[in-house]
Amino acid sequence: MSEEIYDVIIIGAGPAGLTAGLYTSRHNNKTLILEGNKIGGKTLEAHWIENYPGFPDGISGPDLMKLMEQQALKFGAEIKQETVIWISDLGDLKMLSTRSGGFYQAKSLIIATGVSRKSLSVKGEGEFKGRGVSYCGVCDGPFFREKTVAIVGGGHEALHDVGILSETSAKVYAIPGKKGYSEEFPELEQLRKDSKIEFIEGTNITEIGGTDFVEYIKLDNGNEVKLDGVFIILKHIATSSILADAGVSTDAGGCILADKDQKTDIAGIFAAGDCSCKGMQIVTATGMGATAALNAMKYVKQLARK
């Protein structure tokens, strides 16, 4: 058990968490970043990013995140790859423990856990995982060259994968689900004109089937679609029960409720990035990370004056 008390502990090392770590460590706040998965978060899956300022020719997700990691480390942030399993709020002190047995204390916390993948939960999904059912269009798309695939999901990432897969696949079915796309994304208009892409809207998938590999999907309107692969690109807010233990409020969808200063309803606990369901862009995540860091540092300073 570490007796050390950090000024700020950041949970999550994606764009929001690494930006927060850069800000707090640069201002000499003792900072620890804990990441249960790969440093860089979901941005690592971005093959090429063209809308992050400062990179007019674009940059790959892994390269951008490596730079963010280096920048946070340069100013003294510590980064540990440990999964947080418990958080407790004792007022002026926050405590947390990790799956590997780590125990840490901090004056303030910034939650930047991002979003994780969600399953579709239909018949056949588990059976054909890795045999036509995939959860990463960029990772597994190359195996479906000249084949027919469906991209399931109504978020921006799903739509992005529709565009990516249409470059190499023979045909792409875009299936956002009954609720449709979460907003009128700018690329939708262009994709709707692409003859290789067919949008199947207002319906949900009820079954994924085949013999050894995926061969078809069934829809709740009774139709069956023959294809070779199903990419399930649905997101899940990675808040889980650990936030409830600390008393941090979320909405019905699991998004952490944070105000314009990224404050949650618990003093000293802040939230930034996709886990607060705002923006869902790298640039908005870094902005929220910076705002959370500035307000966490203000909070720590106020504690010292007590």
Partner: protein, 81 residues
């Protein structure tokens, strides 16, 4: 025995799978091990010839054993046995 690990540079589960395989190789020497990058033409062709459809993918003597989700050390030990 020949073991191949198919990975992609953008796959979130692949780095961990590679680390686990390297550890397994250290603990259990005596087999041939190759990592196949599916972002290369040769890698994707090799993968498609074996009907690999998702990464990370563990292939033992041309047979797919694990594919497309996070591996554990136990999964690997069981798959290779």
């Amino acid at each position: 025995m020949r073991i191949e690990l198919f990975f992609s540079p953008v796959c979130p589960y692949c780095p961990h799978a590679r680390e686990l395989l390297k550890q397994y190789q250290q603990d259990n020497p005596g087999f041939e091990y190759a990592e196949v990058d599916t972002f290369t033409e040769a890698g994707i062709e090799r993968g498609m010839s074996l009907q690999v459809m998702a990464v990370p993918c563990l292939v033992v003597d041309d047979n797919i054993k694990l594919s497309g989700w996070p591996f554990t050390a136990e999964d690997i030990a069981k798959a290779i046995q």
